[in-house]
Symmetry: C2
Subunit: 329 residues, 2 copies
DNA sequence: ACTTTTTGAGAAAACGCTTGACCACCTTTT
DNA sequence: AAAAGGTGGTCAAGCGTTTTCTCAAAAAGT
């Protein structure tokens, strides 16, 4: 990499002159200007952003956003919310961990050495110790899990309540044999959703049945197919997210069963565009994701400026009932 | 913001000692160490990343990725591809323009002052002059449009051919009155798709009918509803992307028409997860988006290192036929 | 008690850049 | 011809770090 020094040497001028030419400041003769510009091109000079940044004392605030899967609409919308709050002057470095735990850990550890002054971690599976450690160095906002560390703020949806609402709704439309296709037990979100489901079932005196599945359409399809083919009795299905629900629906249709009459289905996340597009349209527990992203970013800024007031921000979910669960009793 | 200097002053030590403590290097007495750590906490010291970066001469390569809409799966997948190629050590600053032209321009202009050493611009509507100008300062990789500027590389899908393929397919399954729901005329992609459609129609001696619509489900729905309600004769529909197709399908269903028997529909982009989920599943022109993202990133690196060989990289689309167009003649 | 080694701490250069102060030289004015 | 003003350019300080070198003081060895 070439520097101003190199350019100055090459053109027999001083560093300051070169700098002035390149920035269009001060007065410099046309001749020298040309020479310098030419030399710059020849050496392929690029200004060192860091040096400039420190010389001008202009600090560009940079935050890191770590998501497990940017293609998942949930995280895409989260990202959108964060970006909205960041405007044009705060930088967001996006890191997709591809649901790879090892990669996620590396990303988290490296972030602060890469300029991030704060971290928003969407739905993580890394252990608490790492969060604790990293939060000693830079502030962290996490989703869907509450921590009691000083520099960590949680933005969570009340997953328990959302699951409870969904399950109760299924019960109300007359389902008796309600199954829950859940996520892995590593994830706080999954656990809470499972608990909410179980609570509603218990309350109604029904027996709960939980199958850990995963997060995508394929997993939902496979699991549901398996369940149906071994003759499991199901008339209601609460899925841990919309994608799983969609997969399950595919399996149900393939089996020739009707939705919602044979099996009523409800998802979680409420990716509106997706849910409404489907036929039958998919009932789901709505999370105000974009808003959550905005709040996360705002809280992170406050945390960075050390003017934080709260430790967590809880959003309350809302049930969106569509065709997939609207059964006439 | 506090600096090492402040800490040194506060603890009556030197800058170097403070630095050593904070980095756990060299030897420092336990007493001083404590004092310094405490002061650091008190002042809320955060190391200046830029200063460190320049002192250690470690340059973190940073690139900017500008997309019009991260929630759109196309761009989400693009992002994923870019991230894949970037691994853990190259930083991606993501900027969502929210399809706001003004914002997009600002983002592009600012990027280089914010540390980006290269720019990947996904599907832009900004004028060529801006691209030309900015590419004098930092290398640019663009999608879907070919430029003849020195520092710009294009990664494009052969949109013309894709549209041609799709239209021809509709013709082959027996459609006669094929309508194209297109994007705006500002976008190169849209134009190419329209041209491909028109070419195929001309070739078959059919009359083309193009309606500029937009990019999302709602727009597709509204336009199609309008067309149907005014009694337009349609038996085939080529949509400029999947979302528009989905909206159109909703309108068609609402009208009580069958797909593909009354109207065969085909989309563009082939967001697999989405297309397969639908019923009927949606035929679409497939773009290898993730791969395109990877290639874009790779080319950008080469451009930054000035070892670029090519000016553009063309991907050839492939038709994925599913239920929505599979009509028995 | 004297030398040698270890330990703790500071001074200073360097990283690449910006910027205000400064200075020669050349014009123009009076 | 002297003063005043304009050019074109250099010097040097400063931004916040890291890191090597140096040095004094304390600890250990003789």
């Amino acid at each position: 990499m070439s520097s101003l020094k190199d350019l100055a040497k090459l053109t027999n001028t001083s560093i300051s002159t070169v700098s002035k030419v390149l920035n269009g400041k001060g007065r410099v003769s046309e001749k020298k200007r040309r020479e310098i510009l030419e030399a710059a091109k020849k050496l392929g000079y690029t200004p060192n952003y860091h040096a400039r940044s420190i010389a001008t004392k202009r600090r560009v605030l940079t935050i890191g956003l770590i998501v497990p899967d940017i293609v998942n609409p949930f995280f895409a919308m989260l990202t959108r919310g964060v970006q909205k709050m960041c405007g044009e002057d705060i930088l967001v470095i996006l890191m997709d961990s591809f649901r790879d735990l090892e990669r996620e850990e590396k990303l988290i550890k490296k972030a602060r050495f890469q300029g991030a002054e704060g971290l928003i971690i969407g739905n993580s599976r890394v252990n608490d110790e790492l969060i604790k450690e990293i939060s000693q160095y830079i502030p962290v906002v996490v989703f869907d899990k509450e921590y009691d560390y000083e520099n960590v703020v949680s933005v969570v949806l009340d997953n328990y309540y959302g699951a409870y609402l969904a399950t109760k709704h299924l019960i109300e439309v007359g389902c008796k044999k309600i199954v829950h296709l859940g996520g892995t037990h590593e994830l706080y979100v999954s656990i809470k959703r499972m608990e909410g489901y179980e609570a509603a079932m218990r309350e109604a005196g029904l027996q709960s049945k939980v199958y850990p599945v995963g997060y995508d359409e394929k997993k939902g399809y496979e699991q549901m197919k398996k369940l149906l083919s071994r003759g499991e009795q199901i008339d209601g299905l609460f899925c841990m997210n919309d994608l799983v629900a969609i997969g399950a629906i595919r399996a149900i249709k393939e089996k020739g069963l009707r939705i919602p009459d044979d099996i009523a289905v409800i998802g979680f996340d409420d990716d509106q565009e997706l849910c409404e597009i489907l036929s039958p349209s998919l009932s789901s527990v709505h999370q105000p994701v974009v808003e959550m992203g905005e709040v996360a970013a705002r809280l992170l800024f406050e945390l960075i400026r050390k003017e934080i007031k709260i430790k967590r921000y809880i959003f309350t979910p809302r049930l969106v009932i569509r065709e997939s669960s609207l059964r006439k009793r």
